[in-house]
């Protein structure tokens, strides 16, 4: 019977999240920053599914007909739905930006500062 500690999934998800944060902080291309945000969203999804699986197995030992853990997977499904909508609007904003300043470099976008 394969057993994987849930710690491994936590560390994996934290590592993915930190890579996303480093990407957001280091890159200047707006599209790559957006992709790193998607990476962070997926790290959270993995964690939700891992905890859902853990609680489902714990409940399954006591009751064979349990449905514990379904809610977490539906939550991940809704996160994916919201992410899809967010990507559409965000990419439209980036396209509009590119049309106005002919670049997607975020260092040109500090006009709100002045």
């Amino acid at each position: 019977m394969p057993v994987i500690p849930v710690n491994y999934y936590i560390f994996f998800s934290v590592a993915l999240f930190s890579i996303g944060i480093v990407g957001v902080l280091t890159r200047r291309n707006a599209i790559i920053i957006f992709m790193c945000i998607e990476l962070m969203l997926n790290a959270v999804n993995i964690l939700l599914v891992a905890f859902s699986k853990m609680h489902h197995v714990n409940a399954y030992v006591l009751d064979r007909a349990t449905t514990v853990g379904t809610e977490a997977q539906l939550f991940v499904f809704f996160i994916m739905v919201v992410a899809a909508a967010e990507v559409t609007v965000g990419l439209a904003i980036i396209v509009m930006l590119f049309r106005n300043i002919h670049s997607v470099d975020i260092n040109f976008l500090n006009r709100l500062k002045h």
């Binding site: 997977q73 994916m80 899809a84």
Partner: protein, 171 residues
């Protein structure tokens, strides 16, 4: 070593490597391709955790639709060249240090968790469409319908934002 653990380590290392390549590759098109690989490995993780429906949805929605949208926008802007201006070295060092310390703190805070993910015989129907659909269309039908309104508004918003503005006619 069981086959599940071998698959876990393989998928984890591949996923972390491609996530690093997303951040550090200089060509945006390669970045998108590495991110597609990350999403496929995450789908593999979902299958390992018996979330079959989520694995398929992740593959279709993320690796299919969203990444194609990204690629389309990158091709549209003609950005597939290597000459991206970089941030200064101090800023990059500071970003790496802050990301690394966030990871350190999260790991240190969460390392004493004692849970296990094990696969029992006969268990694993929770992620199938039958179970998820039953719950989705009984308990969570209102959020489901609201998400359709969200999609409609996102579609209208994208069209409004990306529409070419009429320049004032110069006579």
């Amino acid at each position: 070593m069981h086959i599940t653990e071998i698959l876990f380590w393989f998928l984890t290392s591949l996923s972390l490597f491609s996530a690093l390549m997303v951040v550090f590759s200089s060509n945006p098109v390669y970045s998108v391709l590495w991110l597609i690989l990350v999403f496929f490995t995450i789908s593999g993780h979902y299958i390992l955790m018996n979330a079959q429906f989520l694995a398929i949805v992740n593959m279709i929605v993320y690796a299919g639709a969203i990444m194609v949208l990204f690629l389309f926008v990158i091709m549209f802007m003609n950005m597939n060249k290597e000459s991206e201006p970089q941030k200064s070295n101090w800023l990059r060092l500071a970003a790496a240090v802050s990301g690394g310390s966030l990871m350190l703190i999260l790991v240190a805070a969460l390392k004493d968790n004692g849970g296990f993910i094990n696969s029992l015989r006969g268990e694993g129907n929770i992620g199938l469409i039958k179970n998820l659909g039953k719950v989705l269309f009984t308990q969570y039908v209102v959020p489901f319908e609201i998400s359709s309104i969200l999609f409609l508004s996102a579609m209208v918003g994208a069209v409004v934002l990306a529409k070419k503005e009429k320049s004032p006619v110069v006579s």
